[in-house]
Amino acid sequence: MTTASRLRWADALLLIVGYVALDWLSFFHPLHGLYITPWNPAPALALVFMLRYGWKAAVPLAVAVLLAEIWVRSLPAALPASIAIAVMLALGYGAIGGVLRRRIGGLGIFSDRSGMLQWSGIVVAGTLLTSLFFVLSLVGLDLVPAAGWLEAAGRYWIGDGVGILVSMPLLWMLLDERGRVQLLASVKRPDTPGYLLAAAAALWAVFGLGAESDFKYFYLLFLPIIWAAAREGLAGAVLSAAVIQVGIILVVHLQEFSAVSILEIQVVTVVLVLAGFFVGVVVDEQQRISAELRHTLRLAAAGEMAGALAHELNQPITALSAYGSACEELLARGETGDRLKATIKLMVAESYRAAEVVRRLRDFFRTGTTRLEPVALDELLAVAAAPFAEQAARSGVALTVGPMPEGVLLADRPQLEVVLRNLLANAFGAVAERPAGARTVSVSALPEGHDRICISVEDSGSGLSASAAARLFEPFNSTKSSGLGLGLAISRAIAEAHGGNLWAEVGDRGVFRLLLPFEGSPSGV
């Protein structure tokens, strides 16, 4: 989104209150009693607003800077000078925000690696320029001694840059509805307490154990942030970065570190945090791509279904129209006897057949997208096998369901039912040629590793040769005269959309295996 949103009064107020509050929170170790502090997250909020609302946010931003000046710092300079500083800062952040908007656009900023890279580059360069400009102006106003300008600019740059780089993704997500949803989802994940504890432990190790030796355990802080990023993407990285940053600031504040060592720690922190963000963005990208792939597979399945629908309906329609013309022919000859009646009966049968095709295929279309919900394994297998019980009794097939472990699948229930029914129908077809008494079909499940389940549908039919197994999943490759030739192709697409797989084993009896992600919990659902 490159067009700016409308800035309402509430937004302006949020900016002012938030800016002043962040400035108040982070106001320690000021250099020359000015803005130059080692950690300055308030500009991150300013940038988020400039990005979202464009130059319209510059006025409330200048007001916020001025208020902070008055309230947090008790107005170190004369009022006109303070106003000039506020306007200058608003212009500086506005310029950085403008460059960000133009280069990356609004929404894509934290969604991929290139957006992330450009964002960090622009922030580093932009804060360098504004800090130079700002400090030189302060020197001109005699608020900073001319001899100390380099140190002042350096500190200002690091304070601002680190503040923005560390806090901006979090503030960005907090102010965006989708971002809030992601953060909330991330907070609720079972990993979250784990990496938060790890962060606390790492902080203790760094500043407790390793404090005497120049924080030699600092790298331990990589563990919680990389953990969070790898599991939960950018949202996790942002959360753990915020916790680590706040923890570091608290520790250095309580232990009364010198401003110089705080600056050093901040520089290392920004490297840590950026590493975490990049891992998080890569994880997000990978998840997005796999979701897109699933979607594509579903589309492919739907496309195949449409083709199948056309093909399968063509047969009864062809027969219907030929029978219809035959009836016309019979009537034209004045034949209204049994032959006409028989032909009309055949027409009715064909229209039922067409209706049956539609009914069967509607199963596939019933859910537009793969909607995952927890499904108990035993329930799924029982429901899928139930329609076959009667058929089994009628045609003398011994149908067994089980054994299987207890547990829950994350699955689109109707789709998996379709897959299982399809496999069972194939199995029943395969055993039909066997003599009575030698017809068995079984469904069972075994855990595969600790997070997967392998559901097997086996039959006592003649099995598959290697070449048949290889061609089996190709669309329109049917061995049955009435089949779609598509059931297995679609079943496999569904299995893959669930993050699983479906294959047939070569052998002298029919074995199909359906591998799916599984949570083997003894409690069930």
């Binding site: 063509n314 062809t318 219907l320 129209s321 022919e329 329109f476 049955k480 009435s482």
Partner: protein, 200 residues
């Protein structure tokens, strides 16, 4: 109607049954087959008519069967029908000399036109075949010398050249030529050339 038949090969029972019924009522003789194997087993050189062939069948599919018929120099023209028409299969069908390529559900007017076209093609080709075998029979009645003379005439030689080549008098060539024309029942050199080219 003629003594020509439509041989229907389709794996779908209702489709082949309904087509058989309809074509039967329209006065065609029909024979139906559930798959390519059955058709090939029953196939006989005495069959006259055309084949109505579905592409998608288990086992040997329609296009493969069409190719086999072509390789076996079967004289029955083929109409291909399919529920799943694509350019690739249409191309394959026409390259194997299909008379027509029809999509299911079938347009019956098109089907009738295609069948009539296939019958016409069968008849003209069988006429040609008869002509050819008739001519071959006549050719067998020529003496070796008359055969030599005929081949030289067909190649475009004049009487004098032929006489020189065979070492006989032009007058004798004239006699042989007249006998060839009479035995083969042709009116002139042009017709002789046409028949003998058709024979090859």
């Amino acid at each position: 109607m003629s003594d020509l038949s439509v041989f229907i090969v389709d794996d779908d029972a209702s489709v082949r049954d309904s087509l058989g019924l309809l074509l039967g009522l329209r006065g065609y003789r029909t024979a139906i087959f559930a798959d390519a194997e059955n058709f090939l087993q029953a196939l006989s050189p005495d069959w006259r008519g055309c084949v109505l062939l579905d592409i998608r069948m288990p086992g040997i599919d329609g296009l493969a069967l069409q190719r086999r018929l072509l390789e076996a120099a079967c004289s029955l023209p083929v109409i291909v029908i399919t529920g799943h028409g694509d350019v690739e299969s249409a191309r394959a069908a026409f390259k194997a000399q299909a008379v027509d390529f029809l999509e299911k559900p079938l347009d019956q007017a098109k089907l009738m036109v295609a069948i009539d076209e296939a019958f016409a093609k069968y008849q003209s080709s069988s006429q040609r075949r008869e002509q050819r075998s008739h001519f071959a029979g006549l050719l067998a009645t020529l003496t070796p010398r008359e055969r030599e003379v005929m081949e030289l005439i067909v190649r475009g030689g004049h009487n004098r050249d032929i006489a020189d080549e065979l070492g006989i008098s032009p007058r004798t060539v004239e006699v042989h030529k007249a006998r060839v024309m009479q035995k083969l029942n042709v009116d002139g050199v042009a017709q002789l050339v046409r028949y003998s080219l058709g024979e090859r």
